[in-house]
Symmetry: C2
Subunit: 123 residues, 2 copies
Amino acid sequence: MTKQRALILQIVQSTHEHLTAEQIFLEARKKMPTIALATVYNSLNYLCENHMIEKIGFTGQTDRYDKMLVRHDHKLCEKCGAISDVIIDGLKEYIEEKNGSDVLSYDLTVHHLCPTCRAAAKS
Amino acid sequence: MTKQRALILQIVQSTHEHLTAEQIFLEARKKMPTIALATVYNSLNYLCENHMIEKIGFTGQTDRYDKMLVRHDHKLCEKCGAISDVIIDGLKEYIEEKNGSDVLSYDLTVHHLCPTCRAAAKS
DNA sequence: AATTAGATTTGGAATCGTTCTAAATATATT
DNA sequence: AATATATTTAGAACGATTCCAAATCTAATT
């Protein structure tokens, strides 16, 4: 674990946002102005391989990175694009029950309207 | 609906595979050797916007395109990368029940071992 | 049938996100 | 301290996608 990797990890861990590599790079440069973009990608890949963070992808968007907390999925606001976390209890079991029992894991993106956009839509 | 768009639509509709834009381009050139890659992308975007086909994305992979049949999701083999269709009945309702009732839609990717890889792993 | 207007296609350049490469640097081992 | 190994840096290269301007097609109008 190098200084660079620790910094990248800390950036991903200390936000509730779901940052892109570019955003993480810009953030990292504030603390370490000489860090290279390649190092950011390298570190992100390293941290993913070692299950310290997670890469998440939404169709048609660049990948984002998320800290590893309890296993969770994501909600994406159809209107403003805001991303939030969501936990659906028992979903793995539900999928297994419907599909047979060979589920290793799953990725779920729930499309919705966030509270702000929902309120705006009502008026 | 132009000749080019009709051809792209026909290619996506007449396969069970989940082709990338590049694969569709190569296929299209067999029938229409002068078609441009830009036209393939243009047509794919047009067909998606008009809900005639669907773009699907897996984290860390280029996007693929799928025909519009009954609403379904995808299984991805962890070992060989094979993609197959899956229908999980009542999943929208299950997610709504667990999460509140503001689900517009969802994308699900189930990670598993396909029958072939599963058989190979057992031995 | 010729003219025009609008949409689409073509081919190539441009862009974006990501990975690769080679040289420099840092870290760990003898 | 000398060596070997891993990591970083900076920039080039790459793959996927979009943009652009010119050419072509389509449909409507004369």
